[in-house]
Amino acid sequence: MSTDTLQRAEAAVAPPEAPEKSQTFRRRPRISERFHHRLFIAPSVLVLLVLAAYPLVFIASAALTQSSLGNPFQEFVGTENFQTALTSSAVQNSLTLGTGYAFGVAAASTALGTATALALWRSLRAGAFVRTVLLLPMIVPPVIVGILWSFIFSPSGGLLDTLIRRFTPGSGTYAILSDTTWAIFGVALADVWEWTPLVVLLVFTALLSQDPEITEAAQLDGASGFQLFRHITLPMVAGTIVAAFLIRLILAFKVFDLVYVMTSGGPGSSTQVPAYLIWRSALQNFDVGIAATITLLLAVVVTVVTIPIFLITKRLRDD
């Protein structure tokens, strides 16, 4: 890069102190300038292409072709994979289950996380140690979380089984992960335990960044307790809470590791969430075409359900 270029760049970013410089700022960049601008953003564009565009093109291509794990793009089949997936009860059930699971888990995590953050904020003296301990579940690898909760739910000497037997001798065996109704709740509990600290972290940070003068002013006006929370604190952190819900929702849509470790998608198909179905189609059944199709369908579902939440987040932040 030449000295001349550096000088022009400095001129471009300098504050418009004089009218002459302001006019210079507005003028159409010369070809060499445009080239350098493009050169500077090229790495970002490249990263976007590699990380976003290439996988998307690959998935879309696989969805439109007969593709196996070792031999993708064998034959163009048009919308055949979509027809197969959309008429498959397994795919329909999985997308429905995944959506319900994501909303349930996100709501539970957000409620618990917000409550915990408020409790932490109210008792700042609890210190860094307590806050670090509360964040531990998020640090533990998901596979370990799955194993841990499998042990807790194990009907042969698991923590839950042991406690139930101790306090209600002679009672039957409680096999949560083998029950078609309760298995998904078992996975959800582990998920909530693992990711609620993320919500705590986000909301707690937002609470700390509040302007204390506003709270003090409200207190001087007679506000206290729940009133103070309802009319002052909550509006100030509402945007963060909704954003945390959104992040949590997307994470819950992608859950795979917990299902893989805890239930293998079972019993039957009762915990076969979309990510697990995609994995099974691609890596167990070698059908990458169907796996890519389900991936696209999942992307559509996630987009549709998250757009309203994006809009709410934006509105709350703007307010």
Binding site: S68, G70, P155, G170, S178, S264, G265, P267, Q284, F286
Partner: protein, 446 residues
């Protein structure tokens, strides 16, 4: 069993080394030209990467040590969970990484691996290498473990079949003198024992029911063999909704609620742990479980307290019938640069001498007989006569899973439907298997 484990180890070690020398000499002398050169030093200093399932880790270490000692070739063993071996091999080959030269996947996946080019045909090599002696492989194992259509892709490695192991003390306590001969008797004994002893943590049986073809699928296949059913008819068409198959599923359901809690969560780890701890009276398992049951170093608390017999049948007096529930074949990776060395290795690893040594090696290797000659091995016969007898049921009419393209998905579909039925998500066994039949016709016939 009168000899001690230490004596056995020493004896096996010496036998193993002698066997290796014989095997390598045979391959080297008889192979001639390229076939025998692995053992004439031409590959010394080279490396061979093999991909095995985790339960074969001990066998992999044993093979690596022996092969390196005899040939100077370094064998690097990578292990992955049993249900990921085919996808790992495929991804390795498809991505161009080509790390692996040799693998030993479940025989059911051979068709899919061949269709994707992840493994290469070895028909010519096998036909040009008479020392492999294909006629010596157990006939019912040879075809499903080796062929995809008319091409040979694999050599049998681990001839897995299930047998019925029983805890003699638990049976005695509950008044049973003999293990069951029929599935009906089996269900009765399991129910009685669970009712009598479950409050003390003892159950009638550990039933492998986790939703995996090698686990739940195996439990179903055991019963299908016992009831005389088949997966495919003689023309290769699915018959998975036959009356025998329906009876098999209902027999599995019958003991579901009396098994170690809970079958749906019982995988090999959970089931075997309960067996070794003496907490279950029965377990359907691979015959190598007997070797580990007799080895206190493997954590067994049932040394000299167990017996083994054939899987039950529908009616008393019927000939025993084996079910080839698992079973692994040696294959050569599709894109390997070491095809010659890989072929030499699998021929050696599938030989009588190696298989015989692996059968009785300590620590146990988890390998079952693949050849007639290793089945009749003297050490195996003298140390584990009951296991040898049970394994002889593979000689005639064993039940094998479908192979060929889409067989992996077919096995998974069956397993999913079985799990759905057993968890109460389906109305009847017949309806469940009708669904599987329809899917199998689409996958395996259309």
């Amino acid at each position: 069993m009168s000899i001690t484990n230490t004596q056995r180890k020493a004896s096996r070690s010496a036998t193993g080394v002698a066997a290796m020398t014989l095997a390598l000499s045979a391959c080297g002398a008889g192979g001639g030209g390229a076939e025998g050169d692995a053992f004439e030093g031409e590959h010394e200093g080279e490396e061979l990467n093999i991909l095995l399932n985790a339960s074969h880790e001990g066998a992999g270490d044993w093979l690596a040590e022996q092969f390196e000692e005899e040939t100077g070739v370094t064998v690097n063993v990578t292990t992955v969970p049993y249900d990921e071996i085919a996808s790992q091999l495929t991804l390795d080959q498809q991505s161009g990484a080509n790390v692996y030269d040799v693998s030993a996947p479940w025989y059911v996946s051979l068709g899919d691996l061949a269709a994707d080019g992840s493994i290469q045909p070895i028909t010519e090599f096998v036909e040009d290498t008479p020392e492999i002696d294909v006629d010596d492989f157990i006939p019912t194992i040879w075809e499903p473990y080796a062929y995809v259509d008319d091409e040979i892709y694999g050599l049998p490695f681990d001839g897995d079949i299930h047998a019925l192991f029983y805890n003699t003390e638990i049976l005695e306590r509950n008044g049973f003198d003999e293990p069951p001969a029929t599935w009906e008797e089996y269900a009765q004994q399991v129910q009685t024992i669970t009712e009598n002893e479950s409050s003390d943590g003892i159950y009638g049986a550990a039933v492998f029911g986790e939703q995996s073809p090698l686990i739940l699928g195996a439990s179903f296949a055991n019963r299908l063999a016992g009831y005389g059913g088949e997966f495919l008819d003689e023309n290769g068409n699915p018959v998975i909704n036959s009356p025998e198959a329906v009876a098999s599923l209902e027999a599995l359901e019958e003991i579901w609620n009396y098994a170690l809690p809970t079958p749906a969560e019982t995988d090999f780890g959970a089931g075997n742990s309960a067996w070794f701890a003496g907490n279950v009276a029965f377990i359907e398992n691979w015959t190598d479980l007997g070797v580990r049951s007799q080895d206190p170093d493997s954590g067994s608390e049932v040394v000299d307290q167990w017996g083994v017999t054939y899987l039950p049948r529908e009616s008393e007096g019927e000939d025993p019938r084996a079910s080839l529930v698992a079973g692994f074949s040696w294959v050569v990776a599709g894109n390997t640069d070491n095809a010659d060395l890989a072929q030499q290795f699998i021929a050696w690893a599938a030989s009588t001498e190696v298989n015989s040594a692996l059968l009785t090696a300590l620590p146990p290797t988890g390998i079952d007989p693949n050849r007639l000659s290793s089945l009749e091995d003297q050490t195996y016969a003298s140390d584990f006569p009951e296991l040898q007898e049970v394994n002889e049921s593979t000689l005639h009419g064993a039940l094998a899973w479908p192979t060929g393209p889409n067989a992996t998905e077919a096995a998974q579909i069956l397993t999913d439907e079985l799990a759905a039925y057993l968890s109460g998500q389906r109305d009847s066994a017949q309806e469940t298997l009708d669904t599987v039949q329809s899917e199998w016709e689409r996958l395996l016939v259309d």
